[in-house]
Amino acid sequence: MIVHKIHLPHSKNSAESETVTLPLPSRAVISTAQHLGAVCTPTVKVGDKVKIGDVIADSTAVMSAPVHSGISGTVVAFTDVLHISGRNMPSIVIENDGKNEVSESVQPPVINGREDFLAAVRRSGSIGLGGAGFPTSMKLGFDPKEKHPDKLIINGAECEPYITSDYRCFIEEGEKVLDGAELIMKYLDIADCIIGIEDNKPKAIAKMKALCADRPNITVFPLKSSYPQGAEKTLIYSTTGRVVKEGTLPLSCGCIVINSSTCAFISDYIKTGMPLVTRRITVDGNIVKKPSNFIAAVGMSIGEIVKYAELTEEPDRIILGGPMMGACAFDPDYPLSKTNNAVLLFGHSPIYHPTACIRCGKCVRACSMGLMPTALETAFDMRDAKKLADLNVNLCVNCGACSYVCPAKRNLAEKNQLAKAFLREQTNKGV
């Protein structure tokens, strides 16, 4: 089977800039929707004092992760922040008191086996740091009697242009990535681990290979640099040759895929007990003077973070995440969330106007899922639910490769997303 991939400019300008930990902000706006799944309910009231590492929002839903405060201070307000998904998300505003007190609850967890480990991962507030934000406890909390994975795949592909936060994680905290991987393998009883890294990061591959030299069950797998190499299904196929069937999780083919930075965080949490309140973020773009990697508190304003990277002019486009799958920020002061691995700022960015499809077939040859984006677009324009289902629109991973290669600059990826929503609607109606 051929899995199509495309070549993108790498633009990894921030690769060699060492991560700088930013001072804590005077004010943090922490969204209660940091992950894929249920939105959390605040567990604090206005006026409450919180310390670093205190839980401020949680949910009873399985598909969720608690939210913690990254600063010490007072809860001053609850506010709605227009989320990049377009929905308003309740957020908690905390004013920094400058004392930087760490919560008493921040203690290394005691772990005596699988259940303890999973509970600790959930308490840590860990989510997939690669961008999708799948709660880690949910990913790891499979029923071992039903299906047991034999491969843990560490996703260090980082195939999107510009982003280098996972790369810096390998270079600066490679030991932690391995440690986190070994913890997961130990408690979940997974035999093998594969670390997938794109070959445009030779230093990371060399470092991880050296670290894995005496670990026979962990292998470093250099991946060809192409997009979307880091998409879960593509990565599983590239590293193991297994195919994840439509509508199933990677678990069904014996794989668990976890982001390298998430692994490093889990190792950190088990050692220190400090929950996920900061993250590494790449700041880059054509108006950024010093492309950098920062560690910043979740809830810090993006506008404040990017000042440390020095802008040459006002941006006309702010992208949270990579240029292929990231979303445009509505507001330069948008608060940093757990899932933001990059902020890209562009000035004079071009706006493309779609023209007629010339049926060149480039999108068909670009789709990693083997779909026909141009046919899907026609089917969606005709609101043909049956055709959309026949053409497997639900397999689209929204990698954006089709829109990227389109000479007519059609918004094919966007249409696929709309088509998926339309199909869901029609299916619910029972049509």
Partner: protein
């Protein structure tokens, strides 16, 4: 604070545009244009310029009358104009060429929705319309270098219509024929350029030419005759530039293979058993009509797609 652009992902796009693709095709057609001017004289250039100008004019005018966005800038009309002129005998009265341009741009292309929406190749269809309307003009081919030889050398037959020509002459285009189709060398250079620049897939031309070669080899048993078969008529022009037209040919690689083989088959059937000397344009038009069906049966298997049969059972 300046205004922020909000747009769905992806936020970067490749440098390839429709206009650049069309420009590449125009560049790829230039060697054949130069060859045609050398072989058939200045009138070949005049014919091409008139066709291009008329196609652009008709496109602009139709879009204007239909109150649609002006699309002259995508250069596709120039490609159609060049291809159409290459399919005409150099001696054809210019007003007939203008009628051809009208058929190609207005009827075949714009009436069906413009670029990418036409189901038949505009230049091919225009050539067929002219062929049926002005058969005698369309089948009186000028001899190469006729402009040096005087009036008695004005008409000749193509090798397909019974004329005699050596293989090297056919390869270099030193034979009678339509103005852009005779020089195989120039067309192959253009084709290689298009393959290198990834504008076309080599699948269709190779299948098309390969099928014609194999079938004539089998039927005649003579390698010289088989080579002559692929160098003669509009085969090179059709296979490289017309059978690879995006709008009217299948999207996927298996589809392109079927399309190429089908074109070769029909060409050989017409050449061997038909009453017409040449079958390339008819074969491409017929396969154009089959394209939607080929597309329907060559949908690629999606990566990890659930088994359709099982899904039906699940529904029950």
């Amino acid at each position: 604070m300046s205004k922020l652009i909000i747009e769905p992902s992806p936020h970067i796009r490749s440098a390839v545009t429709t206009q650049k693709i069309m420009l590449t095709v125009i560049i790829a057609l230039l060697p054949a244009l130069v060859a045609s001017v050398v072989i058939f004289g200045l009138r070949a250039l005049i014919m091409t310029v008139v066709c291009c100008a008329c196609c652009v004019l008709f496109e602009w005018l139709t879009r204007k009358i239909m109150k649609r966005e002006n699309t002259v800038g995508d250069l596709s009309a120039i490609v159609t104009g060049m291809l159409l002129s290459f399919n005409l005998p150099v001696t054809l009265p210019l007003y007939m060429a203008v009628i051809g341009c009208f058929v190609a741009i207005v009827i075949v292309k714009q009436f069906f929705g413009g670029l990418g929406k036409n189901f038949a190749n505009p230049a091919i269809t225009a050539r067929i319309v002219l062929m049926l309307s002005f058969t005698s003009y369309m089948t009186s081919w000028a001899e190469p270098f006729y402009y040096n030889k005087g009036a008695e050398a004005l008409t000749s037959s193509t090798p397909l219509a019974g004329g005699e020509a050596g293989l090297l002459d056919m390869f270099l285009g030193n034979t009678g024929g339509c103005l852009g189709e005779t020089c195989a060398l120039a067309l192959i250079i253009g084709g290689i350029f298009l393959v290198i620049t990834k504008v076309i897939s080599p699948a269709t031309p190779l299948c098309f030419i390969g099928t014609v070669f194999l079938l004539s080899l089998v039927s005649t048993g003579d390698i010289t005759q088989a080579t002559a078969a692929i160098l003669s008529g509009g085969l090179m022009l059709g296979a490289i530039f017309m059978a690879t037209d995006y709008a009217t040919t299948p999207l996927t690689l298996p589809g392109k293979l079927i399309f190429g083989i089908g074109c070769g088959l029909i060409t050989m059937l017409i050449r061997s058993f038909g009453t017409m000397p040449e079958g390339v344009s008819y074969s491409i038009l017929l396969m154009n009509i089959l394209t939607p069906i080929i597309d329907r049966f060559t949908v690629p298997k999606a990566f990890g797609a659930a088994d359709k049969k099982r899904r039906v059972q699940d529904d029950k």
